[in-house]
Amino acid sequence: MLFNKMPSNDPLVIADKTFTSRLFTGTGKFNDQQTMVAALQVSQSELVTMALKRVDLQRKDDDILAPLIKQGMNLLPNTSGARNAREAIFAAQLAREALQTNWVKLEIHPDPKYLLPDPIETLKAAEALANDGFVVLPYVHADPVLCKHLEAAGCAAVMPLGAPIGSNKGLKTIDFLEIIIEQANIPVIVDAGIGSPSHAALAMEMGAAAVLVNTAMAVAGDPVAMSEAFAKAVQAGRQAYLAGLAGQVNHAVASSPLTAFLQVG
């Protein structure tokens, strides 16, 4: 059953755009275009990622853009495939041309096995792209110091990972995500590794500004139903965060009273 969009008194502002939905989505790994479009629609996502690749002249790929643009989704091209800053900058410029947007998800993973982001090349590319007028959303490991450097470099948000791409392992980096969220002056979007709606809800309860989910939705048994579950989880997590979660109770170690001296005299 579909439910209403979140009230817009809790909007997420990133650079020049305002979002009502805090669930960002990817377009990869769906079994077919029709399922992808249906799933994204149900997710109520307002920002969707895509990659760029050289056209195969023999076989034409589906045009994924038309249905997404028709749904009014904001496009976030990624630089996937880039192995260093130079390649990422080139990819970003291509994407700006192709999609007529200056938003870019900076993604540099030279390691093809685990697809972990390269921090050094990412910071280099982020600085260059931010200076060139891009709205940079860098995908990085959950490194609090790196995230502060990216913020200083002019990124519009940071996207620390919960676990390796596609692993569906959840928030393995939770302790570091907490630190990043505490220290950030820009939105923190947890990206990669979110395998279930409960992971997404947890990220939102912690104070993340948004989450980006792809694999978990695309390869689920029923991608459309799973997308709806994710949408609900992100809303629930955000609402819990705003409502003020009760912490866990830890009893203080009993020993001789430290403040008894105040009663004396």
Binding site: K148, E178, E182, Q183, A184, N185, G244, A246, G247, Q248, V249, N250, A252, V253, S255, P257, L258, T259, F261, L262
Partner: protein, 372 residues
């Protein structure tokens, strides 16, 4: 963007109402969270937290030991000058107060350093009134090389300066700068700061932003407790700390808790803070920010310091004199800025700390770490 912009997000009266509206549930929640926010801080400094003081103290002690170990950093203030071109109603150095004014010359500075060194200190706090013309950057440039010969860590508490002036002083060896807003309420501020450059509320308020941009290693903030409703003013200190930490994330921070004391000129204190409330405030800061340095000076009594230091304090002064030339025996005595309550010598203080199972740290820093 600087704090004078950020502070517009808070309304003085709303802050006070908000603090007083906190209840036991709010305090429970604050006590059970690992990462507290400013609303939690309000709960912990509200009247509703008073019944929880022992619990706060236990947790504060535990957090402090986890972060700082069982140590206490010792420092000493050296008053270089009591010249001042401001009129501040509460201060012994106020321009209209008839006291003997003096500024130490380089020879006197050297003598003071020698006397202080004998007491064992490696961390020193240089203090002056606020007299830009006579005791300004040029004077500091002369003094700092002398101080640097003797001391590993130099803090200063002087008039607010421009960013490029701080950059110069940092090159000359200043590690930390302490500036207290006195009160974050601009109306009350105007009532107490009647003349001189200090009457510029916003310039003072933005000092820490200038320090952050200059790349200072450590900066200190606080309010003069008693000028205004202490709960509201201390909330603003916490909000200021929060803002600075997120923006100048490579700087260290320290909070002090100066409570108004009688001085020449005598004035009525608007909001009297009781001992148990100061304990509450110190613990609240520790719970709110487990990493910040908390400092307690010799303004507070022996009895109070003995019991409060282990609850959350990490830095103390000892054997202090608040008059220029107060350490070398041959110096003449001018009027002190405020009365000292804890007059114990550094050696006595170190023994007291040791008896409580703490180690007195004389040198906790070295310039070689900054490559200067």
């Amino acid at each position: 963007m600087s704090f004078s912009e950020q502070i517009k997000n808070y309304q003085w009266d709303d802050v006070g109402l908000s603090i007083y509206s906190k209840n036991a549930n709010d305090v429970h929640r604050a006590l059970s969270k690992v990462r507290l926010d400013l609303e939690d801080f309000k709960a912990l400094i509200s009247p509703a937290a008073e019944p929880f003081l022992e619990q706060m103290a236990q947790k504060s002690q535990q957090l402090t030991q986890q972060r700082f170990g069982k140590t206490m950093q010792f420092y000493i203030p050296l008053y270089l000058s009591n010249m001042c071109s401001n009129i501040c109603t509460y201060c012994g150095f106020s321009m209209h107060n008839a006291i003997r004014r003096t500024t130490l010359d380089m020879e006197q500075v050297e003598q003071e350093c020698l006397a202080i060194k004998k007491m064992g200190f490696a961390h020193i706090l240089l203090v002056t009134g606020e007299s830009e013309r006579k005791v300004g950057v040029e004077y500091f440039k002369q003094v700092l090389p002398i101080i640097k010969k003797y001391f590993a860590h130099i803090s200063i508490e002087v008039q607010p300066l421009d960013q490029h002036e701080y950059e110069v002083l940092i090159d000359y060896g200043v590690d930390a700068v302490l500036v207290y807003q006195e009160t974050y309420n601009p109306v009350t501020y105007a009532q107490h700061h009647l003349k001189g450059k200090k009457s510029d509320f916003n310039y003072r308020l933005d000092t820490h932003d200038r320090l952050g941009k200059a790349g200072i290693h450590k900066m200190g903030l606080g309010c003069l407790i008693g000028l205004e409703e202490w709960r509201s003013d201390c909330f603003y200190v916490a909000a200021h700390l929060n803002y600075l930490e997120k923006k100048y994330w490579q700087s260290h921070y320290t909070i002090s808790f100066p409570r108004l004391r009688p001085c020449e000129g005598g004035m009525e204190i608007k909001s009297v803070m009781e001992d148990k409330q100061l304990v509450q405030l110190i613990c609240a800061f520790r719970l709110f920010n487990p990493e910040v340095e908390l400092s307690l000076s010799t303004r507070e009594s022996e009895h109070f310091r003995d019991h409060v230091l282990p609850l959350g304090i990490t830095s103390v002064s000892a054997g202090s004199s608040t008059q220029p030339g107060g350490y070398a025996e041959t110096s003449l005595k001018a009027l002190e800025q405020f009365e000292i309550s804890d007059e114990r010598s550094p050696a006595e203080m170190a023994n007291m700390i040791k008896a409580k199972g703490y180690e007195a740290v004389w040198k906790g820093w070295d310039h070689s770490l900054t490559g200067k």
